[in-house]
Symmetry: C2
Subunit: 357 residues, 2 copies
């Protein structure tokens, strides 16, 4: 099977401000163990897709960063001239990949997730690849551990394929982020999974789906594909992205498609949605504090203290997230972190503040 | 009258960490309006004691800083080879000053207080100088506004001298920092004042007092005075400080002396004891926040946000003091600031932490 990994590097990663910045989104940041999430993603799939068969889809401003950090070659890069959602990124990758290898199977991986253990992940990808080979559009679903309202859900039906303990099921319906009550019902009912945003499919099948469910964009893709390898290619990508709708692959294709399977993830998955995720991946001290960097504290409980340089000192505080990164310091009550985006919007509107984003 | 100002620059200023550091104590730091507390103190007394009649007593490590920041001349500096308390600093100054002008009147001023308005301060110094001329050891007492347990108190008796509204009283007793109950009694009784640590006296009278109440140290001072102006002077200061007791002038002399007066301060006095003092000297926003530097916040109340560079962002917090200065960040609940000293001790014991003090 001709497996290729397509690593989506489009995330803005605002939720890790001030460690992540607009010129260094979450996936490029070394939050965990000295490696960026992108490096970790690339290494995780390497055994099935060596780097020569990995494509990095990113905004063009990150080209140098990708070449420097990942030793990516120019031919591994798919550079977007504008920030659209996942549907355009995947459509563009599919067209490019299909020219290179019409029998390619695409493994689409967001570059900013944490997945362990690698072995189980690779086994699941193999199962998904078998299903993809059969013509299915395959997604990975994560068994929910709580009634989380921050994820989309997948309702699944009968088993389609099994390899050992790893199962693929027919997808009945994609559900958008639910309210708490609905999320609780999903959790209880047992046949709902979190939509992880990872996909496996044959390149011809996903293009066929674009044809059917996003016909206008598909026509643009076809026109673009005429220019591939020519001098007009760069201009054509610009035109493609000017017209491309900013929608997700879930919304544009998956929710409408019929030949969709979900592989129930046998691995631990974390989309590392923000600072609180650190608490899930770093040990806590006896007072429930998670610390990275040089920290001294008295009467400090349940805090996340992160300093990528200098020293952090805390006195008499509880339940705060404190981050010092470069020229910025953030202090937030844990539950208030959900408002970080609003605060960044405010900072963006300020002439002096803008340079810290 | 031959008035000379002796500015005590010995404060460690730990309570303004991390803005103040061991190599830049509080008095040298520009916390208020672009001038250091020391500069403000020097300017405040200038009309009565021009800079040529100001002596700066400081640890020798601050010689360059004093010369650079205050344009102090070498002959204005009295450099201590070790950190002892105020009694040695004042004894040394008195001996040096008495050689220069045996009729000198010393105005002893800690270099890290805020006093306003200047006019009232100068009037009070003039009254104190009259009393000093008569032979009294004069201190300034501040009318207590609360039962503060952080100050020493002065119990005063009958009026000795008055000029307009400014009065000098005979001191009955110096009281060490009281417990809350005692402080409340002092406040209620009406004849107690806060000990401000500022003094005015004739140089011969304070030396006489050293002779009587600290006879051993007085003998050392006499031996030292023999070396003044000679090449042996520097070594002699070292010896003097090796033997000098680390005690305050209050404890060593004032509490025992009999000819002590207190001038009731007609001015507003603040010894700027720590970060909370900022709230008394900077305007608050409508949520009770005091802000210095570039700050963005949502749901932030009653906080002190201080950043001398970069940006500070806060979310959903109340009653905290956040300071970012140079390579250090401090986040403290307001009431917990009293433990800052303990925390700094901990940091001092850490090999990595030490360099941030």
């Amino acid at each position: 099977m001709n497996l290729y990994a397509v690593l989506l590097c489009g995330g803005k990663g605002e939720r890790f401000w001030p460690k992540s910045r607009s010129n260094l989104p979450k996936q490029f940041v070394t939050l965990f163990g000295g490696k960026s999430l992108l490096e970790m993603t690339s290494e995780r799939i390497k055994e099935l897709c060596p780097v020569s068969r990995q494509l990095f889809v990113a905004h063009q401003r990150f080209a140098k960063l990708l070449i420097r950090e990942l030793k990516a070659k120019q031919k591994n890069l798919i550079l977007e001239p504008a920030r659209k959602d996942t549907a355009p990124a995947i459509g563009l990758s599919a067209v490019i990949l299909s020219r290179r290898d019409p029998e390619a199977i695409m493994v689409v991986l967001p570059a900013d997730h944490i997945i362990t253990p690698k072995r189980k992940f690779l086994s699941a990808v193999k199962v998904a690849a078998v299903l993809a080979q059969k013509g299915y559009l395959v997604t990975f679903g994560v068994v929910p551990t709580r009634a989380d309202t921050g994820y989309g859900y997948i309702q699944y039906g009968e088993e389609v394929y099994r390899q050992g303990k790893i199962c693929g099921y027919r997808v009945l319906e994609f559900k958008e982020k639910p309210d708490l009550k609905t999320a609780e019902q999903y959790l209880k009912s047992g046949n709902y999974l979190w939509n992880s945003g990872m996909f496996v499919w044959r390149v011809d099948m996903i293009l066929e789906a674009f044809h059917r469910y996003m016909p206008q964009f598909y026509q643009s893709l076809l026109s673009f594909s005429q220019t591939l390898g020519s001098q007009r290619e760069k201009m054509a990508i610009k035109r493609l992205y000017q017209k491309a709708p900013a929608i997700s692959i879930d919304y544009g294709v998956m929710e409408k498609a019929e030949n969709v399977c979900v592989v129930r993830a046998p691995f631990i998955w974390d989309d590392v949605g923000g600072w609180l995720a650190l608490a899930r991946h770093f040990p806590q001290d006896q007072n429930g504090n998670v610390v990275k960097g040089l920290w001294f504290g008295k009467n400090t409980k349940d805090c996340i203290c992160y300093a990528d340089q200098g020293v952090l000192a805390t006195l008499g505080i509880t339940g705060l997230v404190i981050v010092r990164s470069g020229d910025a310091v953030m202090v937030a009550e844990k539950n208030a972190l959900s408002q970080l985006k609003d605060l960044l919007t405010e900072i963006a509107q300020d002439r002096q503040g803008r340079k810290f984003l």
